[in-house]
C-alpha cells in the first residue's frame, strides 16, 4: 500500500553529532542514484521519446483511428474487469472475514493464485478452456459465441489477472473494523443491505478505492495474456498495449511511445490521485 511519509513523528532523541551524517548522506545518495538509474531515467527517456517531435505529432499519433479504437477497447475491457472484480472482491472479502466454512483456506489461497501466474500461462489456460476446441469453448462455439480471439476472452483474461486486488485490499480493513458497528446497526433494526451500504462499505472505502485503482492500473497495462488470447485483430481485438507492441513492430515508434506514455500516465495519475485524495479526506476527518 502506498505510504505517506510526510506525517512521520519527529525523532524523540536529539540527533547524533556529525560522524553519522556522512554515512547517512552516502546511503541517501546511493538510494537516490539507484532510483534514478532504474526508474527515473527510463521514464524520463520514454516521455522525451514520446514528445521528441513536439506536442502536435504526439496528439496526431494518438488520434489515429487504430489508436483510438485500441484505447476504446482497453477502456471497455478495463471497465468490465474492474466491475466484475469489485463486486466479487467486496462479496468475497465479507465472506472471508465474516463467515466460517469448509475449504476456507483453499479459497483464500486460490484468490492469491493470479499473482503467481505468468500472464502467458494465464492466456494458455484460457485458450485451453475457452478456445474453439476447449473444454467450455466447444459448447460456446456451437452456440455461436466466440470467446478467444474476441473481446470476451480478453475481458476474461484481464479479470483473471486483476482478481486478487480488491479482495486483498479490503480484507485487512474489514478485519480491523470488526463486527460491533454492524451488530449495533442490526439491533437498531436495519436490514442486511442497509447495514452493508451504510456501515460496512464506508468503513472499507479506502481499501476498496485502493484495490479498484490497482485493478484499473493493472488492467490498462495487461499484455502477456492478451497476446495469447486476442489474435491482435486491428480495430477489433487490439488493445492499447497490443497497439504499442504493434507500433514497435511496424516502424511506428512514435505511436508506440505516445500510447505508452498515455497508458503509464493515466495509471500513475490514478494511483497518485487516490493517495492525495485519501490524505486530504483523512486530514479533514482527523479531528473526529
Amino acid at each position: 500500500m502506498a505510504v505517506d511519509v510526510a506525517t512521520q513523528a519527529p525523532p524523540a532523541v536529539p540527533r547524533r553529532p556529525t560522524p553519522n551524517a556522512w554515512g547517512r548522506r552516502l546511503l541517501t545518495a546511493a538510494v537516490l542514484g539507484w532510483f534514478a538509474l532504474l526508474i527515473l531515467v527510463p521514464t524520463l527517456a520514454l516521455v522525451r521519446g514520446a514528445f521528441s517531435g513536439g506536442l502536435a505529432p504526439f496528439w496526431q499519433a494518438l488520434s489515429s483511428p487504430d489508436a483510438l479504437r485500441a484505447f476504446r477497447l482497453t477502456i471497455g475491457i478495463t471497465l468490465v474487469a474492474t466491475a466484475l472484480n469489485t463486486v466479487f472482491g467486496l462479496a468475497f472479502a465479507v465472506v472471508l472475514v465474516r463467515h466460517r466454512f469448509w475449504g476456507k483456506t483453499l479459497a483464500d489461497g486460490l484468490v492469491d493464485l493470479p499473482f503467481a501466474v505468468s500472464p502467458i500461462i494465464a492466456g494458455l489456460m484460457l485458450v485451453i478452456l475457452y478456445g474453439p476446441q476447449g473444454w467450455i469453448g466447444r459448447w460456446l462455439e456451437s452456440a455461436g459465441v466466440r470467446v478467444v480471439y474476441a473481446w470476451p476472452g480478453m475481458a476474461l483474461a484481464t479479470a483473471f489477472v486483476t482478481l486478487p486486488f480488491v479482495v486483498r485490499e479490503v480484507v485487512p480493513v474489514l478485519r480491523e473494523f470488526g463486527v460491533e458497528q454492524e451488530e449495533v446497526s442490526y439491533t437498531l433494526g436495519a436490514g442486511r443491505w442497509t447495514t452493508f451500504w451504510r456501515v460496512t462499505l464506508p468503513s472499507v472505502r479506502w481499501g476498496l478505492a485502493y484495490g479498484v485503482t490497482l485493478t484499473v492500473a493493472r488492467s490498462l497495462g495487461e499484455f502477456g495474456a492478451l497476446l495469447v488470447v486476442s489474435g491482435n485483430i486491428l480495430g477489433r481485438t487490439q488493445t492499447a498495449t497490443l497497439y504499442v507492441h504493434d507500433g514497435i513492430e511496424s516502424f511506428n515508434t512514435e505511436g508506440a511511445y505516445a500510447a505508452s506514455v498515455l497508458l503509464a500516465g493515466v495509471s500513475f495519475v490514478l494511483l497518485i490521485g487516490m493517495e492525495t485524495l485519501r490524505k486530504r479526506v483523512e486530514a479533514r476527518e482527523r479531528p473526529e
Binding site: V3, P114, M125
Partner: protein, 285 residues
Amino acid sequence: MAVAEPKGRSLVRGASRPAGGLLLRSASLSYLGVMVLLPLVALGYESTLPGTAAFLKALSDPFARHALWLTFVTAAAMVVINAVTGTATAWVLVRYPFPGKGFVNALIDLPFAVPTVVTGLMLVALYGPTSVLGAFLDRNGWGIIYQKPGIILALLFVTYPFVVRSVQPVLLEMDRAEEEAAVTLGASPFTVFRRITLPTLWPAILTGTALSFSRALGEFGSVVMVAGNRPLETKTGPMYIFGEIESGNRHGAMVVSVVLLACSLGVLVVLNRLQRRGGEPGHGR
C-alpha cells in the same frame, strides 16, 4: 496475507449469519471457482493427459530445463539485489530528510503503472547497444541488454516497489525506544540496525522478496524485449512457453507452465504459513 478468524464476539447471536449469507458465499465461491480453479484444473489435466512419462520427457528437454534454470537464477539474483536496495530505499524514505522526498515517494509506485511492454522498450532504448552507455558496456564485455543482466534489470524494474512498500509501513510504525536505548548504551548505528531493527523488519523484507520472486518467475512483457531470446542462453521460462505455444508444442508449454506455477504457488504458500506462524496479521499486501 493470511486471513485470521473474525475479531470480537458476536453480540447478537445469529444476526450476523443471515440466510442470505449462503447466497453470497455460493455466488462468490462460484466466481472464484470458474475464474481460478477451473483454469488451474484444466492446465493440470491437459498437461498430464498424455501420461507421466510424456510429462517427464517434456521436462527433460534441454531447452525446457535451461529455460527453467534461467528463470530461477535471474529471479534469485534479482531478489537478493532487491532485498538490499528495497530495504535501503524504505530506510532512507522513512528516516532521512532530503529535498523532493514526497516526489520520490510517489514515484516508487511507477512500475505498477507502466505496462510491461513499455518497460522493455525503455530499457532497450536507454541501456541497449544503441545508447552511449550501452555501447560502452558492450564493448568492454559488460553488456546488459540482450544478455542475462538485461533480464535481471527488467525484473528489478517491475518488482521495485514490492520490498519498499512492504518495509515502509513497518518502519513507520516501529517503536524506536529500543534503538534509542542501544544508542545511548554506545552501540554503533550498524550494530543497532543489525541487532535491533533488522529482526523487526525481517518478516516484511521476506514478504516483499517472496512477492517479487513470485512475480519474477512469470514476468514476460518486459523480459521478452530485453533478453535476446537465444535458446540455451537467454530464453526464460515464460519466453520458452510462448515460443512453444506459437510453434505448436502446446504440451511442452503446459508442462513448463505447471512447473513454474507450482513454484510460484509454493512461494506464496510458504509465505502464508510463515506469516501465520509469526502472528503477523495479514497486511494489505
